[in-house]
Symmetry: C2
Subunit: 334 residues, 2 copies
């Protein structure tokens, strides 16, 4: 049995989406157990109209909620009875509960995971790895995307190893193609950190390093994992997300411009919505924190029930396929 | 009279687009003189069918061309008779020719400008500042975008000052809103470099600092200038460009999916092309190198004649409005 704690509060659509998503995941997997963490009364009310295997779902009461506007380090210090901190404490104190999902404040989740749950032995710093859809119909992981603003080459090479193992464990990608985010494709390109990291990555035997990748290639599907520092990695995915959304907004505006375009829109609306769906990374599960002693999946703040379900399935797969153990073994050689 | 040297070779559409673009600029401005640099015979052939004021156009012969696949530092050292190096030498040796435009290799232009033309006194390192269109119909400058991969806070604060003066001189923007590219909006966000830079920018009296900006906000038009290091700045604009193009490709694919969507496409094609035009930064002039002793405008490699014309007009405005002098004065106080 794989046991996953779900922080039922903190996201924009919680507890509705978190409770419903967790229940949907239970229905899909017979060896999954879920512990919903948060206000018991509210959670029970959400559960009232849902049918599920009650023997595999329990509630851990928490009276407080950390919201996205709170300063992470203050929040995790003062709100001991928040759903997030109770979930973290549960993981810390239980040998058989090894994974959690939260759609709450990214900063608070990162701080709580790093400070309270701790790292796998040998991991310098855990890295945040979200998954983006590519326009060729696949996915791409980017690590780190914001857990570490100042990185060194050793950290980046660890992200490469952990990210490769993760893409294999959670998505079944064999021998993931690892690329270094850089400002040119040639080996000598980039800042001091990139040059040093390139030299390390190309010598590593346990990853499939394919060289540098430029930011404009990110969505094309020519790599499975992009390795980057948390600062420029965050810029990379936010710029990508922002530009895609802004472009779709312009397209939408063009469609309602006049009667003629509105008529045209009727014919293509359905297929354009599919483009929007493809770009929506709610459909691809959450971002995982790689290298923490227990599995932590961070869903988008605006996650709906499908996104939450995907996050729970993702946590389940990481545990089922022994990702943490694989990382621990690999870290002995990095 | 403002004299602008135009590197007629090096771009994808040169010399056709460079010669035609330069001539178009001559027609628009009566106090502009253009020196076309490159193979005289080929340039004369391009000029044959164009009508223009011959007294304001001359040719400086150069027998070689630097192409984009050459290593910049090698190219500028070995190809002394290339159109780029001849243009640079012309600027260096002539007191009355103070601006140049090139659509050739970015690396070679940067290397040639920094090493051969030199800096304005007080400027630590010149910064590359491209202009992007915003979805609210305006423009936004981003500096630095790749001239300096490893930056310090002093350099970033100089980019803020030079970029502000540039947006005023070339685009008439009064009191440009300056934002620091960061991974969150709060003052305490970011890596060590961002924290140090924020502290400097907020104390500066000669810029209109508005705080941090996240990458996903870039195209929305809430700032006029984004200040960044050359590494993450390059990632920022390439990710933005890449995601916008990939999204438009998906939209286009959806339009030709089946008979129904093809019919719909007939009604909206024209307006969708306008979206593509809006996103196309050929329409907004080139990237300028801020802080060099003479004015250098770098057009996109794929610049058409309109893009080249815009680059020449941009160089003209920067000279006409005494941007270099304004930077020199400002640098005494940074």
């Amino acid at each position: 049995m794989i046991k996953v704690a779900v922080d039922a509060f903190g996201g924009d659509n919680s507890p509705y989406a978190t409770v419903k998503g967790a229940v949907e995941a239970l229905k899909e997997l017979s060896d999954l157990e879920v512990i919903l963490v948060g206000d018991e009364k509210t959670i029970n009310k959400e559960l009232e109209n849902l049918s599920f295997d009650k023997s595999r779902l329990s509630i851990l009461h928490a009276s407080e909620v950390i919201d996205c506007n709170e300063k992470p380090t203050d929040a995790i210090r003062t709100k001991k009875d928040s759903s997030l901190m109770k979930a973290v404490e549960l993981l810390k104190s239980s040998d058989d509960i090894n994974a959690m999902v939260s759609t709450g404040s990214t900063g608070a989740i990162l701080a709580a995971a790093v400070l309270k749950i701790g790292r796998i032995k040998g991991v310098k710093r855990p890295g945040l790895c979200p998954i983006l859809p590519t326009t060729s119909g696949g996915i791409i992981g980017v690590c780190d995307c914001g857990a570490n603003t100042d990185c060194d080459a050793l950290q980046l090479s660890q992200f490469a190893v952990m990210g490769s193992l993760y893409l294999h464990a959670a998505f079944g990608i064999e021998n993931p193609r690892v690329a270094l985010s850089n400002i040119g494709t040639e080996e000598e390109k980039g800042d001091a950190l990139r040059k040093e990291t390139y030299a390390i990555l190309k010598e590593m035997k346990n990853i499939n390093f394919t060289g540098n990748i430029e930011a404009r290639e990110l969505l094309k599907g020519n790599a499975d994992l992009v390795v980057t520092d948390g600062f420029s990695g965050n810029i990379l995915i936010k710029a990508t997300e922002g530009a895609a959304l802004e472009t779709m907004k312009l397209v939408k505006k063009a469609l309602v411009k006049n009667l003629k375009t509105k008529i045209g829109a009727l014919f293509i609306k359905k297929d354009l919505y599919k483009v929007k769906d493809l770009m929506d990374y709610n459909n691809y599960g959450g971002a995982v924190l790689l290298g923490t002693a227990k599995t932590v999946v961070k869903g988008h703040g605006s996650s709906n029930e499908t996104a939450v379900k995907n996050c729970v399935l993702q946590a389940y797969k990481m545990e089922k396929n022994n990702l943490r153990q694989a990382i621990a073994t690999a870290m002995q050689n990095v």
